[in-house]
């Protein structure tokens, strides 16, 4: 049983490592993505995905993270419309079917 689960997990990760996940980019970051409002990134978790974004678009990391490596106070990341703070933060798993959005958290009210 345990063996089977492990095997399944491994298969899942192999799939997602090969496929890219669409990430929606907010206006303040589009200067770094060649004005694209959507880009593709690789990773099995939000943390990995954001690191891949930094590799592809140098400079994006320091906009998203503070000096301690935590997401900045006014950066919100959503997976299928759900705030990752209500999921597993940067450990939140993602796959090719998911919709990921980076959104400034200073709107509304």
């Amino acid at each position: 049983m345990i063996f089977n689960q492990r095997k399944e997990n491994k298969t899942m990760s192999e799939v997602s490592a090969e496929q890219t996940i669409p990430v929606r980019i907010p206006t303040p970051l589009r200067g770094l993505t060649g004005n694209k409002d959507q880009v593709s990134a690789r990773g099995e978790t939000i943390g990995e995905l954001l690191k891949d974004l930094q590799a592809q678009f140098p400079g994006i990391g320091e906009r998203l993270f503070d000096q301690t490596g935590a997401l900045r106070r006014f950066v919100a990341v959503y997976v299928n419309g759900e705030d990752i703070r209500f999921l597993k933060d940067q450990e939140t798993p993602v796959g090719p079917e998911d919709e990921v959005s980076i959104v400034p958290a200073v709107a509304g009210g």
Binding site: R72, G108, G109
Partner: protein, 424 residues
């Protein structure tokens, strides 16, 4: 035309300056942008006499508002009554209480007419033809009405489960009303994404730096109506926390422009217990606002689980010597009734929150019993009337008979209370 007073937008986090465009977020750290003024220039231009000579609307403080030209939308908004409420003060156990009564704000009976007057005037200056908002109801009503009054197209996005009166109060103006399945925070997130795609003026997204400044006028009016002095205690409802931070900013601006004497002012915040991310963080002594995923409160206009200005609201309360409280649904209903029965003012659920939290702040000594307190009441009770269903007694029905009426009065007040029958 360029304003001689309103100079820039500036990031609240890193201080970088931005031009006065339809932008609300710092490119560098995502911090919120805020309007910046030349207070030295304002100080030289403005005086109490000058302000008092102007019409009784929020625009009498226009040097402090982020427009380049004259306002074109919502020119009649504001200057609502500041009501001295002695019977309410007695019931709350405090020396003196005032109600800043935005339940009668024009035209849509909530403080949101202030922020909409500024943001739609700015939207017109910038040449937008479509305006929009993410709203818990009051803002939607105000955007819909004020847009209609000047012929702007409007889209208002609201949670699909709002009070019937708030939905109707947007539809009637011909606005395009879109209900979103889910809580307000999801509406808000969607609107941020829409604003990044469509070239619309989203008043509380890309026009938020302008919009938010409108709330300051509530504070300017309070100080002027008190005879040009700052109240020592102000209790303010918190949804995003923006109103609270802007009232504090208005008091500061009156001080730096020499319109009032510098005296201590404590700023207190009120939330519903079913959605209390700001008051909870305040209580814990942290400035990390833990979001509330599923707000559950009858105060739907305050049901924001991820408050954009929560961090700044906490800073403002701490620095000013204020405190935060929250109130349960039962306490909110009791607050609505207390305000109605002692001051003759019918407030929506958010007003019940403010009254209930004021009572708790006084009971715990955070507002001393010998103090004078101003309660900011932000919306009219008819907008959330359904919250009171089953709470109030039904009218008693009798035949058109004097004898029946006498019987009813004597059961209320006793036989002795009946007027003597005059002999023929």
């Amino acid at each position: 035309m360029q304003s001689e007073f309103f100079t820039n937008l500036r990031c609240r986090e890193c201080g970088r300056l931005y031009p006065k465009e339809a932008v609300h977020v710092c490119e560098w750290d995502f911090g919120p942008l805020e309007a910046v003024y030349d207070y030295e220039a304002i100080r030289q231009q403005i005086s109490r006499d000058r302000i008092e000579s102007r019409p009784p609307t929020m625009w009498r403080y226009r040097e402090f508002l982020p427009l380049d030209g004259e306002p074109t939308v919502g020119t009649q908004v504001g200057f609502t009554p500041l009501v001295r409420a002695d019977r309410l003060a007695k019931a709350l156990g405090v020396r003196e209480a005032y109600v800043k009564n935005d339940t009668v704000n024009y035209p849509t009976l909530s403080f949101k007419d202030r922020v909409v007057a500024v943001s739609l005037s700015r939207a017109k200056e910038m040449g937008f033809t479509v305006v929009a908002c993410a709203s818990t109801g009051n803002l939607a009503n105000s955007v819909a009405a004020n847009a209609a009054s000047v012929g702007l197209e409007s889209y208002v996005l609201i949670p699909s489960d709002l009070e019937a009166s708030k939905v109707l109060g947007s539809l009637v103006y011909g606005s395009r009303v879109i209900g979103i399945r889910g809580p307000y925070d999801k509406v808000n997130r969607l609107c941020s994404e829409i604003a990044g795609k469509y070239q619309w003026a989203f008043v509380n997204v890309n026009l938020r730096p302008y919009y938010a400044e409108g709330s300051k006028t509530m504070g300017f009016e309070i100080a002027e109506q008190l005879g040009w002095r700052l109240p020592s205690h102000t209790v303010i409802p918190m949804a995003s926390g923006s109103l609270l931070t802007k009232i504090a900013k208005s008091y500061q601006e009156l001080i730096v422009t020499n319109l009032v004497e510098k005296t201590p002012f404590a700023i207190h915040g009120a939330q519903a217990t079913g959605c209390n991310p700001i008051s909870e963080a305040f209580r814990k002594g942290t400035d990390l606002v833990q979001p509330v995923p599923k707000p559950q409160t009858i105060a739907k206009s305050l049901a924001i689980g991820t408050p954009a200005d929560g961090y700044y609201a906490i800073q403002t309360m701490r620095k000013s010597g204020g405190a935060a409280e929250d109130a349960s649904d039962a306490e909110i209903l009791a607050g609505i009734q207390l305000l109605a029965e002692t001051a003759g003012i019918f407030a929506e659920t958010a007003g019940g929150v403010t009254v209930a939290c004021a009572r708790k702040l006084i009971a715990s000594g955070k507002i001393p019993e010998d103090a004078s307190v101003v309660l900011c009441i932000t919306g009219h009770g008819l907008k959330t009337a359904e919250a009171l269903s089953g709470v109030l007694a039904s009218p008693r029905v009798i035949d058109p008979s004097l004898r029946e009426f006498d019987r009813l009065v004597s059961s209320d007040l006793g036989q002795a209370s009946l007027p003597e029958t005059v002999a023929p």
